[in-house]
């Protein structure tokens, strides 16, 4: 559907409809410090909750003694697994994670007990006073080790969470025909979402025996289902509202404080607030899966890909979280946005005693992009071809078939994205003498005046899914109400779609304005008082909830036309909304909205995109609802004496379908690109013996404003078939190929193979810059 088609209900132009960079409706509150984040909530007489977590990555629990904690002044409750009235486990895909551990702990930081007290310091001291007798066990620290013969079984059957096997074409025959074969082993470290707003929320016991929960989350309804199961309460007694969210990036798909705060509130019959510290936050949410990826690519002398073999191990850590879906995504996208006639992909997500891993922006597509793009560069070198030319020669296009046998029935401008980036002028290399140290690797540390600096340029292109994959029933719901407020029409949009900073509320209002032609639109707080919206993840919310808002607005508009038709004896098909009223085909006003809105008009609609199918035993199926394509070109300067990097520019080209809010689209691309380059050069949760060594912003580094490069973006708008307004999801595509482009640029600057992301200074230092250019 195009904007013109969507607008056929109304002839009223709106200022702040789709296609315009409308400012965020919550912007004023956010810049003035008055926006209520989940950690800002407060209730009279509230208590503070705190969590005792396991210091061991693997241990048996012999006993838990809460006596002295319970006896402390100011402590109102101390709870253990014995106090969980309902299901003792939870999980967004499968409930395998204890609400509070019994018998064993499987990762460092696993919750063991809870405290509610009248001051956070009292709660902390009570947590410290709980005595747990552990019998430490040897942790299983490595994904490869978990599936090795004889490995200790962390679960009843084996250590596999999920396995995907794709067999496409005839790899054996193709291998016999290949003129050139390149192979490589790649590794990716564990990345953290590092959202700034810590996990937090307020649980308030209600008079009806239920609970009002105000938390920062990505998916209210699935949270509610898990909370209800563990608290043994009916769903309608758990009322959840999304409190202000300080970033998410996948890290809020799994529960954090939800059940715990609820348990404490019900136990004390007092409001309970929980706020994680930054250190606790590193233990309190899942991370991006570390991965080991073994690849083999075969091609003809001319550079046509013949086959890809890939074997991928994703370390899922101690619990399942979303590992199975990440595994499906990694396998489905393992070969890159290229025409690959034959593919054999084996991807497994495993249990270890490492921190649990699950959803993070990019969701499986990030790990494989590093491997297949590194392989494409390696293949280009082996064939003595230009890396961009090799990619363009093999680029997927509309109508191409993926390794899961799915035909790409949408624009797939891989070639054009690369062409756009190639055509961009390169940033100038600054003169060597007298350079501002802030423009050099090392920055104000003043480690070089330009000597030993090598410049590199690298390209990468990536793809990922939009929407839930593999046959899941993906849908969203919106309720739209039009009423007369002080004589003026007011549109209220109510959904359970979680605003996490991405600007969903901005575009929902834009869609409503465009469809109904009424400027005054208010988006209500997301809560469970309206139907399921699905998760704010998988780049799906603008498409799905946007589609639901559009459908509900259309229904309300038709209701208003029907009212005018009934009251004036006209055919509603001849009527249009126009300038605060209903007009007939000749333009004459039939009725004003004010008179039609003597009763508010309301409609609730669900939106379902086209269904996907699960993968069969050969990994074949129409597994993906829609694809997003994006490419990056990175320009880096490397101090090859010290191994320091400065990101000069990381340019992006992305197809967004239709930019409903161009400024927000740029913001998504820039933010995602920055997270991707962070993974390339600095971001890693480091574990030793399954223990996190760097759970703080002092030791886990994310890009600062000095680290972030210039990020010009080329935005293509090729309408997506079947999507509202022709949009495509844009929340994640920017993160997929930005890191791999930086890695390619670093390889050019240093001549090193660089098979591990993030790169570390010692892997760059001492390079002779065989392929690099003096900057």
């Amino acid at each position: 559907m195009t904007v013109e088609q969507a607008a056929e209900l109304t002839l009223t132009p709106v200022r702040s409809g789709v296609g315009v960079s409308v400012p965020r409706p919550d912007g004023t509150l956010k810049v003035s410090g008055r926006y209520a984040y989940s950690s800002d909530l407060w209730a009279a007489d509230m208590l503070w909750g705190a969590t005792l977590r396991s210091p061991h990555p693997s241990a048996r629990i012999r006993s838990i003694d809460v006596g002295s904690a319970r006896a402390m002044q100011g402590v109102h409750a101390v709870l253990t697994h014995n106090d969980v009235p309902g299901r003792r486990t939870y999980g967004v895909e499968r409930p395998d994670q204890p609400v509070l551990a019994w018998d064993v702990v499987r990762y460092q930081g696993e919750p063991v007990a809870l405290v509610a007290a009248d001051h956070p310091e009292t709660a902390r001291r009570a947590v410290a006073a709980i005595v747990v007798d552990y019998e430490p066990l040897e942790p299983l620290c490595d994904g490869d080790a978990a599936i090795a013969r004889g490995a200790r079984k962390l679960r009843e059957n084996d250590n596999e969470v999920h396995r995907v096997r794709i067999r496409h074409g005839d790899v054996e025959s193709a291998a016999g025909l290949a003129d050139v074969v390149v192979s490589g082993e790649y590794e990716i470290g564990m990345q953290d979402q590092a959202f700034l707003g810590p996990e937090s929320g307020l649980a308030v016991p209600a008079g009806d025996g239920g609970l009002d929960l105000y938390v920062a989350t990505q998916w209210l309804h699935v949270d509610r289902d898990q909370v209800a199961a563990s608290l043994a309460l009916p769903h309608d007694l758990i009322r959840m509202t999304n409190a202000g969210v300080g970033g998410a990036f996948g890290g809020r798909e799994d529960l954090s404080v939800q059940i715990h705060a609820g348990l404490l509130a019900l136990a004390t019959q007092r409001a309970v607030k929980m706020v994680y510290s930054r250190e606790e936050s590193f233990f309190g949410h899942v991370h991006r899966h570390p991965a080991k990826l073994r690849y083999e690519h075969g091609a003809t002398r001319e550079g046509d890909l013949l086959y890809v073999r890939a074997s991928i191990v994703l370390d899922g850590g101690a619990y399942a979280s979303t590992s199975a879906q990440v595994c499906v995504a990694a396998a489905s996208f393992a070969c890159g946005p290229y025409v690959v006639p034959s593919a054999a992909v084996d991807c497994v997500a495993v249990y270890t005693n490492n921190p649990p891993c699950g959803a993070m922006r990019g969701f499986g597509a990030v790990q494989v992009c590093f491997a297949y793009e590194s392989q494409m560069d390696r293949l280009a070198a082996a064939l003595d071809l230009d890396p961009v030319a090799l990619r363009r020669r093999n680029a997927m296009a509309e109508g191409s078939v993926t390794p899961t046998g799915q035909v790409v029935r949408q624009p797939a401008p891989v070639n054009e994205l690369l062409e756009r980036l190639r055509a961009r002028p390169l940033p100038l290399a600054p003169p060597t003498g007298g350079r501002d140290p802030r423009e050099l690797p090392g920055g104000v540390s003043n480690t070089t005046h330009g000597e030993g600096i090598r410049r590199g340029v690298g390209y990468a292109v990536g793809w990922k899914n939009i929407g839930f994959s593999g046959g899941l029933d993906d849908y969203s719901t919106a309720r739209v109400r039009v009423s007369a407020a002080a004589g003026e029409p007011l549109v209220e949009v109510h959904t359970a779609a979680c605003e996490v900073g991405q600007g969903g509320i901005t575009v929902q209002a834009q869609i409503a304005r465009t469809v109904i032609g009424i400027e005054h639109v208010v988006v209500l707080a997301a809560d469970t008082g309206v139907g399921n919206a699905g998760s704010s993840s998988a780049s799906r919310q603008t498409w799905l909830t946007g589609g639901a808002v559009e459908a509900a607005c259309r229904a309300v508009g038709e209701e208003l036309l029907g009212r005018a038709a009934d009251r004036h004896g006209l055919d509603p098909r001849d009527l249009r909304l126009r300038d605060g009223g209903v007009a007939s085909a000749d333009g004459s006003v039939v009725a004003t909205l004010a008179e039609l809105l003597d009763e508010p008009a309301e409609a609730t609609r669900e939106y379902r995109p086209r269904r996907t199918t699960p993968l069969d035993e050969n990994g074949q199926g129409d597994v993906t609802m829609a694809f997003a394509f994006s490419a990056h070109r990175a320009v880096v300067d490397v101090d090859v004496e010290l191994g320091l990097v400065r990101l000069v520019e990381v340019a992006t080209a992305t197809d967004v379908g239709k930019a409903l809010n161009p400024q927000s689209v740029e913001g998504q691309i820039e933010g995602a690109t920055a997270q991707g380059v962070g993974l390339a050069v600095m971001e890693e949760i480091q574990t030793v013996g399954s223990r996190i060594r760097n759970p703080s912003f002092t030791d886990y580094l994310i890009p600062t404003i000095l680290d972030a490069p210039a990020m010009p973006s080329e935005i293509l708008e090729l309408p997506q078939p079947d999507a509202p307004f022709g949009i495509n999801g844009v929340g994640e595509s920017g993160i997929v190929s930005s890191g791999p482009a930086v890695m390619a640029a670093l390889r050019m600057a240093t001549g090193r193979a660089l098979e591990r992301m993030p790169v570390r200074p010692h892997e760059l230092a001492g390079a002779t810059a065989a392929g690099g250019a003096s900057a």
């Binding site: 969210v245 913001g667 000095l706």
Partner: protein, 160 residues
């Protein structure tokens, strides 16, 4: 202990403060001023930036007792009587706000930069704001917002 100080021009007096509390905690939990944010609580992210006697500080690193008698300005104190401060408006208009958790800190730090340097270069902007972390924007639109704010403030000065 009892703490007396001036916050955003108003005298504040709170009782029952535990000596281990930070100025950030007192502002957020005892003075109903949650605008200063609690993202790292170890001085790495700048989300809790406030003025303490005219100096830009991370309020998470200031013990409550150190604020005795001090004059404090938080993000809540920057707006003008007729609406947002030009820096705040620029952050909204430039698209420099996404989740917004870092925004109060960036607004206060930008305020501090622009009173010292009315027309900063891009490098000066980036250096001055290097103590503030943002995870959503990639910073491009924050740089745009600071430039826009500097232009607006310059225009105001000329018109005054």
């Amino acid at each position: 202990m009892r703490l007396k100080c001036t916050v955003n021009g108003e005298a504040q007096e709170v009782d029952g403060v535990w000596e281990g509390e930070s100025l950030l905690y007192v502002l957020r939990e005892r003075m109903a001023l949650p605008g200063s944010k609690n993202a790292c609580e170890q001085g790495e992210c700048g989300s809790c930036s406030v003025y303490l006697n005219g100096n830009l500080v991370c309020s998470c690193l200031v013990a409550a007792g150190q604020a005795e008698g001090a004059d404090i300005t938080t993000v809540e104190g920057l707006a003008r009587e007729d609406g947002l401060h030009p820096i705040q408006r620029a952050f909204v208009e430039a698209g420099a706000v996404q989740c917004g958790f870092c925004t109060p800190g960036f607004v206060v730090a930008t305020h501090d930069l622009l009173r010292r340097n009315a027309d900063p270069s891009e490098m000066e902007i980036r250096e001055a704001l290097a103590g503030n972390l943002c995870r959503c924007t990639g910073y491009t639109k924050i740089v745009d917002a600071v430039r826009l704010a500097a232009e607006r403030l310059e225009l105001e000065r000329r018109q005054a």
